[in-house]
């Protein structure tokens, strides 16, 4: 099928273009062009956003980092200031996929994809997108909750987040093959501590354990005000029961994911090597 391919130099114009019936926003193409190859005829127009703002990496007032929606995983890996985030970008495909896959595309990637989005969820990112009328900032949880129903046609200009203090960011992708395997699950954790070494504001995000990456708020609450000890870790694991809703897919059954989730969460919290 022949598709119309429209390019826009401005996010606002792209939002207008994307509102057309049959339009889909193209990121790196790793999922959408695959769909074309697989015979998806549900769209007839591709929208390419060429706004320089979508490929920028900036420090914004207030100390936040802004990653343009069109920034590739390879670019994140090569950015020295983002070395702490590189493991999340490196978990996405091989070098060729990373040279193509974008931040915005990953935010829309269905499970078991979306490893980088899981990291962004743990970082409590804001998604800056253009809806029908204006640029808006959305908490990433709100974006993920409504990404298919409300935001599929909204171009993502950038994501913003604060770098976590010290070494408080942890990321692990669990897959059947060490390189380029799809996720059995992805875990991203931020564990800030106060001056007394007690955890304040833990954020635990999991990918491939539901339709979208999810926060495990029960486990987060169980860690609040405590230090990481065997007891607090077990309390967090106990509190996480019932908070995940894994899916069956070709990589793993929901049963398997549910069974091994506590093992990997325990290892992550304990700081064990993968």
């Amino acid at each position: 099928m022949t598709l119309r391919y429209l390019r826009y130099a401005d996010v606002a114009d792209a939002a207008s273009g994307a509102a057309r019936p049959g339009a889909r926003i193209l990121g790196g193409g790793t999922l959408l062009v695959r769909d074309i190859n697989m015979g998806d005829v549900s769209f007839d127009t591709l929208i390419r956003i060429e706004d320089p703002a979508t490929t920028a990496i900036d420090n914004v007032p207030g100390g936040a980092i802004s990653l343009g929606g069109g920034v590739t995983m390879a670019r994140v890996v090569s950015e020295p200031a983002l070395a702490w985030l590189a493991p999340a970008a490196l978990s996405v495909g091989g070098p060729a996929v990373r040279a193509m896959a974008t931040v915005a595309g990953n935010l829309h990637a269905p499970a078991p994809y979306g490893d980088f989005a899981t990291a962004l969820l743990a970082l409590d990112a804001k998604v800056v997108l253009h809806d029908e009328t204006a640029l808006i900032d959305l908490p990433i949880q709100d974006f993920l909750a409504h990404r298919r129903a409300l935001h599929a046609r909204h171009p993502i200009r950038a994501v913003r987040f604060h770098a976590p203090p010290g070494h408080s960011f942890r990321f692990r992708k669990v897959s059947r093959t060490r390189v380029k395997g799809l996720a059995v699950m992805t875990l991203a954790i931020v564990l800030p501590t106060d001056a007394d070494g007690l955890i304040r504001g833990a954020r635990i995000a999991c990918g491939a354990l539901a339709e979208t990456p999810v926060r495990i708020v029960g486990a987060e609450a169980a860690l609040e005000g405590r230090s990481l000890t065997p007891d607090s870790i077990e309390a967090a694991i106990a509190a996480s029961v019932g908070e995940i809703n894994p899916v069956d897919d070709a990589i793993a059954s929901a049963w398997y994911r549910r069974a091994v989730f506590p093992v990997h969460l325990r290892r992550m919290l304990a700081g064990d090597a993968a």
Partner: protein
Amino acid sequence: MSKVAVHFDLNGKARSEFVDGGATLLDLLRTRIGDMSPKAGCLQGSCGCCTVLIDGEPRLACITLAEDVQGREVETARGLPDGAGRLHPLQQAFIDGFATQCGFCTPGMLMAAKALLNRKPNPTRADVIDAISGNFCRCTGYAPIIDAILAAAEAGRAA
């Protein structure tokens, strides 16, 4: 819908082709131009056997739109031998090291390796493993391929 003109360099030579909207670079290379070195494998960006270089970076031709190579330099395995027909050091190393069996993955492996050696002429074994981590081989078990890429790098240092 009308076709779109795409102007680009392919293996150092200027090309101009008309493509349909939504056509992939793999379609363009194999069907219109007749460069059969990038293979049509999974068509999902998973197997890596369609790997080409675009402006020196590894890309998957099966999930790259043809219109996106407008004004860019594309390299395929067909362009690896020099003008006199001599094989590229990587190709020779693959032959010498028995790094190919059925051969279907080989063009993609070569281009992924070329991207690595362009960027890092003295790679470690870990660098090589990462560089071909997006390329499947179902014959060799990978070790001969990794060894061949390291041998080609070594040959490059000796040259």
